[in-house]
């Protein structure tokens, strides 16, 4: 039960990743940086919750996610990006507009803004949103998804992003224990978006060792190293060697974006992506974000009666019997008649 460390490329001598991946990582980085700035400014101008004024994107989460086998056909890997973290979702094919709709509670989100945070569930693209008091529960869910992959012999891996705090919750332990015991293809990234709690002394590596699962820690590595660490964890998972925990050591915002800039420099120098190409990628990424921000205001809020969405398949709850709105469903009976059976449609 000795945890197998995944190979992690450290130092700046990391070999290039190839053109396609490099381009994608560049795009994701530029996009993320622009999106971070847009959200902050939308929050300052009152178009988004003021709580988002300090919104940040950890570009490394997008790099990890891009190392998965993303596919838009429901047969690629599965990713839970965390409750408010668009990085991995963007790598899995989500657009800035989709993200902004979520945080702006628009009627155009998949749940008509019924669900809070980023309810990223889109099984076709392989994204699954949070759904409960956070800490740890999603590791259980993704462990079960990974179980399904293994059971059907599919080449698919489940990737969950959790906060450090998740490791304090029993639910997380039950999830990783189950995943480790069954050696299912699961990767759990443990990140810390808030300055580390001084009383929290969790040693993520020791936790991984106690479950006999793989472990890697990444911090200020260049993108190449982070990508290779994630790719190695994926290979390990796909080979039936079980889950890996990847600890993302917190970095200041500036350092994060410096990682991106350094990568862009190397990409220009090593991967044969010329200065003008680089600029073109940046422009395209920024244009997408700007388009989304501009469009956001025109996106409609949900209609009140979207609250009556099905809770059981085929059966939306009826509107309360005291509502007189003639177009609400289930109110065709005379006003004032108690409308029993609201939730019990079959």
């Amino acid at each position: 039960m000795i945890p197998e460390p995944t190979d992690s490329a450290r130092g700046h001598a990391a070999p290039a990743l190839g053109r396609r991946i490099s381009e994608d990582l560049l795009y994701l980085g530029f996009q993320g940086r622009r999106l971070e700035a847009s959200v902050r400014s939308l929050a300052r101008s009152g178009l988004l919750d003021s709580g988002l004024a300090g919104f940040r994107i950890d570009v490394r989460t997008a790099v990890v996610a891009r190392a998965m086998r993303c596919a838009p056909d429901g047969r690629g890997d599965l990713c839970h990006p965390g409750p408010l973290s668009p990085g991995p979702a963007l790598a899995f094919g989500a657009t800035p507009l989709e993200f902004l709709r979520h945080v702006a509670r628009k009627g155009t989100t998949p749940s008509s803004a019924r669900a809070g945070g980023l309810s990223w569930t889109d099984l076709r693209r392989g994204m699954i949103g949070w759904g409960g008091p956070r800490a740890g529960m999603m590791t259980q869910i993704l462990a079960g998804a990974a179980l399904a992959f293994r059971q059907r012999g599919e080449d698919r891996v489940a990737l969950a992003f959790e906060g450090r705090g998740a490791l304090q919750s029993g639910g997380w332990h039950e999830g990783i224990n189950l995943a480790g015991a069954a050696r299912v293809p699961l990767i759990v990234v443990v990140e810390d978006s808030f300055p580390a709690d001084p009383s929290d002394s969790t040693d993520v590596g020791a936790v991984a060792a106690s479950y006999g699962v793989g472990f890697s820690r990444v911090g200020a590595e260049p993108h190449e190293g982070i990508f290779r660490t994630a790719a190695a964890a994926r290979r390990r998972a796909a080979k039936g060697r079980g889950p890996t925990l990847v600890e993302l050591v917190p970095l200041p915002d500036d350092d994060l974006w410096a990682l991106h800039d350094a990568f862009a420099e190397r990409a220009a120098a090593e991967a044969g992506i010329g200065e003008s190409e680089l600029k073109a990628i940046e422009r395209a990424a920024a244009a997408g974000v700007d388009h989304a921000s501009a469009r956001l205001e025109r996106e409609p809020a949900p209609a009140a009666r979207d609250a009556l969405a099905p809770v059981l398949t085929g059966a939306a709850p009826l509107a309360p019997w005291t509502r007189r709105d003639p177009s609400a469903p289930g109110l065709s009976r005379p006003a004032g008649t108690p409308d029993a059976g609201a939730s019990d449609a079959r």
Binding site: A115, M137, A145, A148, G171, E174, G175, L312
Partner: protein, 340 residues
Amino acid sequence: MRVEAPAHVTRTRSGEPATVLEAIGEALWEEMERDERVFLMGEDIGAYGGAFKVTRGFLERFGASRVIDTPISEGGFTGAAAGAAHMGLRPVVEMQFMDFISPAYDVLTNYIATSLYRGAGPLPLVVRGPVGGGNRGGPFHSQNVEMAFFHTPGLKIVYPSNPRDAKGLLKSAIRDDNPVIFEEHKGLYRAPHCREVLPPDDYAIPLGRARTALEGEDLTIVTYGLMVHRSMDAAAELARDGIKVEIVDLRTLLPLDEEAIAESLKKTGKLLIVHEDTRTGGIAGEVAIRMNERAFEWLDGPILRVTAIDSPVPFSGELEDYFLPSVRDVVGAARYLADY
């Protein structure tokens, strides 16, 4: 090599009367044969065959990837079942005793029940296991769990009273696209008076529909599970005094078949709810207010209830018998209502 079904899941094929336990085994076996997406998870359900041996022989037939022995972590494996359901599988989770569903309360009520509403798609999964008192199991092996979940939109709750219903309802629960809590009363598992020959065809009984267990015109008893039998015994006694009781066996608690209740109430004018679960916050309350909303003018007496007393389930037999609703309690309450 195809492994033959074990004896405890072949009563119907051989035309013999089946117990509730056997009927449940048959439903699981047949659904697993019918649909390869169906799989089982639970503690000791594989080689050991489960605490009540419901899944004896399943591992041999369906293999370890469809009959999964889990760690002792009810929350974790219920959550994992949800993840598997997202990916298109149809998990059936066994709680060794349904009392142990409480560590899964969080994931069931928050994640699983809300999935469809949150736009994350339906989660077809069944959580099943033994419930109920009378087995001298004490406070942690005797609970009825329906009221822990009855208040949660997005779940269904099923609680059969006989082999035929148990098999047909479990098949429907497995085929249903929604999460279903399926309660099996231990006192009915092997009860000899409860054996019956099951229909030989692949029948399913729709969720959400009550069954008239006995027709009568003086008084309606709404009940479910083991209490159907206790109510039938009471009805037999009451019949000797000329009191004709109608018994509605709810079968599905959520969604509640209030139409069936209201129809019966409109016929009899009197309503008694009998449940094994404790009194305060029991299902009788919801039945009462639904009938107020829907059939108040038909009430010729108060809506009353016979239930267990408001305490944990006591361990010793003497105490437990006192704690549980008895035939005498039902008879007493029914007489009171009939005379009202």
